[in-house]
């Protein structure tokens, strides 16, 4: 008798998830465990700080800009929901606690997969930053009176958005895996984008956001600090129910999606690929294979398309000015590197051993990877700038130079960091599934935090040069940063050239 939607299966699913987490943790060294505990403590501390510190800043800052923040809070809550949905869709429903090829021998149910994906959803710097923004800005507006009561509806909204986003992600993944699923998925995505564009073009987007029902989340937080307990308790109770319902209801599409065949992956693997003329140089030959490894991998192709278009569309929707557009290339480049760049040799998979047995210098093989990663990041960042420019209007020389310099600098910076991590910390991963990641989820969270921090700082520097009288400041800032990243790339190449280091990387990714 099928028991997949019974309480027994729910309890078993949770127990299995604990077992999978223990299996994953068993491979960690003591040093990594300590680092993970520290990272977890830092995230928890920052979350508490995002709740407490802004609340107590309201007084000293005399509630400066509070009314403006109130106006954008409902949109911010809605934005968090949209982010949760997009993240779940982009990750093929949700991330895997244990990679599929490792879990294939175990009877992992869709219940375990669903709860696992929910648990991993916060291990994403975009999720964390947005969550902290929701908490921080709201707490600043409502002030320090009864902080816990004010934070409760916000935390519940964050939980609900994540669970509901996960459910929508499974539905989208189920559609994608069906007959004509790719076409349907593209139609849905295209229509949604077209709808947003039309709303923006007809100036109906902002009025629509202003009528967002998420204003009730803010009101609930405000009631909490105003001792209006009955008014506070009602939305909080509703939110609790919403969280539970969204979590449980997500099991249905999760089961539906996970029981369908990986149609797009199978299509790619069974289709005929027309041979191309013979390459004219060793570097071109290697680059060609690496490019194919990217564009023929479902998670990479989908991730890059999302990265190329979404930040640009957000910039169009938010009508970003040129001095803020300089921050976007950093986000795009970081996201691109997180798709595969932080473990670049995973592109070769088990073919890494054969590839390394070919007579080509380690340096050429290294720079083939650098070129492919760099061109992908730069192209995605360039497209983002282009889309953002549609609404930002004609730039001044300083603005244009700053945006282009920012793209070039962050792309180089991210490639340098990603190549270093690829050589120092390789992982064996199969990038076949849309749910695959190039490194374990916890490691990915660390990488994303470090990349986001570095590239945002650089983006802000170029925001400053964008308001300079001419483009020379941007160039002056860009040159030393490019030299620094270039030097880091060369240093990593020297490391890669050491046979023992190369052998370790190859052995790990090919295992």
């Amino acid at each position: 008798m099928p028991t997949e939607h019974s309480w027994t299966e729910l309890v078993r699913g949770v127990a299995d998830l604990r077992a999978l987490l223990a299996f994953r943790a068993s491979g960690l060294t003591d040093r990594v465990r300590v680092r993970l505990r520290i990272a977890g403590g830092v995230v928890l501390a920052l979350t508490v700080a995002a709740i407490v510190v802004p609340a107590y800043l309201k007084g000293p800052l005399q509630a400066r800009h509070a009314s403006q923040f109130v106006a954008v809070l409902p949109s911010l809550y809605l934005g968090f929901f949209a982010l949760a949905v997009l993240a779940a869709i982009a990750s093929g429903g949700g991330r895997e606690v244990v990679p599929r090829e490792q879990a294939v021998a175990f009877p992992v149910s869709s219940v375990t997969e669903h709860f696992g994906a929910l648990l991993l959803a916060p291990l994403n710097i975009a999720w964390l930053i947005q969550a902290w923004s929701v908490l921080g800005l709201t707490m600043y507006v409502v002030g320090p009176h009864d902080v816990a009561a004010a934070a409760a509806p916000l935390l519940l909204w964050i939980a609900f958005s994540t669970a509901a986003g996960q459910a929508v992600g499974w539905v989208f993944e189920g559609i994608r895996r069906g007959a004509h699923g790719i076409l349907l998925a593209r139609l849905i995505a295209g229509s949604t984008i077209a709808l947003v564009v039309v709303l923006i073009a007809t100036d109906r987007f902002v009025p629509l956001l202003d009528r967002s029902p998420t204003v009730r989340i803010y009101l609930a937080a405000a009631y909490g600090t105003g001792n209006q307990w009955w008014l506070w308790a009602r939305p909080v109770a509703v939110l609790v129910v919403m969280v539970v319902v969204a979590t449980v209801i997500g099991l249905v599409p999760a089961r539906w999606a996970l029981h369908r065949a990986l149609r797009e992956e199978l299509r790619l693997e069974s289709g005929r690929i027309e041979p191309r003329p013979n390459p004219r140089s060793d570097l071109r030959a290697l680059v060609r294979v690496d490019r194919a490894s990217i564009w023929r991998a479902v998670p990479l192709r989908r991730g890059l398309l999302v990265l190329a278009f979404m930040p640009g569309l957000v910039a169009v929707a938010g009508s970003l000015h040129w001095d803020m557009i300089t921050i976007l290339p950093g986000l795009v480049a970081s996201g691109g590197a997180l798709l595969f760049g932080v473990n670049t040799w995973c592109l070769d998979g088990r073919g890494a051993l054969w590839r390394d047995s070919l007579p080509v210098s380690a340096s050429v093989a290294y720079y083939a990877k650098v070129i492919v990663l760099f061109e992908v990041l730069l192209a995605a960042a360039g497209l983002t700038i282009l889309l953002a420019a549609l609404r930002a209007g004609p730039p001044s020389t300083a603005e244009l130079t700053s945006a282009l310099a920012a793209a070039l600098v962050v792309a180089t910076q991210v490639v340098a960091a990603a190549m270093r991590w690829s050589v120092e910390r390789p992982y064996a991963t199969d990038m076949r599934s849309a749910r695959a990641t190039p490194a374990p989820p916890v490691v990915m969270a660390g990488y994303s935090a470090r990349l986001a921090l570095r590239t945002t700082v650089v983006g802000l520097v170029f925001s400053a040069t964008a308001v300079a009288p001419d483009g020379r400041w941007a160039v002056l800032v860009a040159v030393p940063l490019l030299c620094w990243s270039g030097w880091r790339l060369v240093r990593t190449e020297a490391l890669w050239a050491v046979p023992e280091v190369r052998a370790r990387v190859i052995a790990v990714v090919a295992s």
Partner: protein, 239 residues
């Protein structure tokens, strides 16, 4: 004629390979001669695949002397890689490249001209002609093994290294692999085959080296490992 056939193309002396505290290979000697095939036999973890990887230039030796056609693998790994054709024990294929793209890459890096006819011929012999333009990620294990043998033999290497070439391969694939081994021996290549399938290895090899725990425990004529008596002798060497 005898002196030409006995030309030592692979010379390994006192090879040690360490991965951290693990000693994968502990001071073994291996010789492989032109026109002859040598089987590397032994249990899992005996050091067979690591020895093959050292000879392919993929893993550097920790200690010892490793020469392929007189070239030290540590001093000039690129020249060694040009002389060697290597079929790795695991996978060995880039998952999202087609067999043809693998051959194109190998041909380019090995400076091969007019290679297309031979590539087509090899793919047909291994019954991979129909799959030449499909990505290898969708291949069965046996298809992957067969393609790995094709890639190793493609450039007619002086030293052919086949690590578990018969693993999961159907009888026709085994025949095609044995044909490749015979062809290589006929043109004077030295062949090293690492396998657990003793009977199959003995049909293609003249010499056998049995490894245990990273050390060589016996160097035998393959005739000594044939049949029931060979199986008993081999079994005794494993304990």
């Amino acid at each position: 004629m005898e002196s030409v056939e006995r030309r030592e193309r692979v010379r390994v002396r006192a090879l040690w390979v360490r991965f951290g505290s693990v000693e994968a290979v502990r001071g073994i000697d291996v010789s492989a001669y032109a026109g002859r095939a040598t089987a590397l036999l032994g249990r899992n973890g005996a050091g067979k695949s690591t020895t093959m990887r050292v000879l392919a230039g993929v893993v550097p030796p920790t200690d010892g002397d490793v020469q392929v056609d007189g070239v030290d693998v540590r001093v000039d790994p690129l020249t060694v890689k040009r002389s060697v054709g290597y079929c790795p024990d695991v996978g060995g294929l880039v998952p999202r490249a087609t067999p043809w793209e693998h051959l194109q890459l190998a041909a380019r890096l090995r400076r091969m001209e007019g290679w297309e006819t031979r590539a087509q011929d090899l793919l047909e012999r291994f019954e991979l002609g129909d799959a030449a333009h499909r990505v290898t990620g969708g291949f069965s294990h046996g298809m992957g093994r067969r393609l790995s043998v094709v890639l190793a033999a493609f450039h007619r290497p002086g030293v052919l290294l086949l690590d578990e070439p018969f693993d999961g391969v159907d009888p026709l694939g085994v025949e095609a692999t044995q044909q490749v081994i015979d062809d290589a021996k006929a043109r004077g290549a030295a062949v090293l085959i690492s396998t657990h399938l003793r009977d199959l290895a003995m049909t293609s090899c003249e010499d056998a080296l049995v490894l245990r725990g990273g050390s060589a425990v016996a160097a035998l004529d393959s005739a000594e490992l044939v049949g029931e008596a060979g199986a008993r002798a081999y079994r005794a060497l494993l304990d």
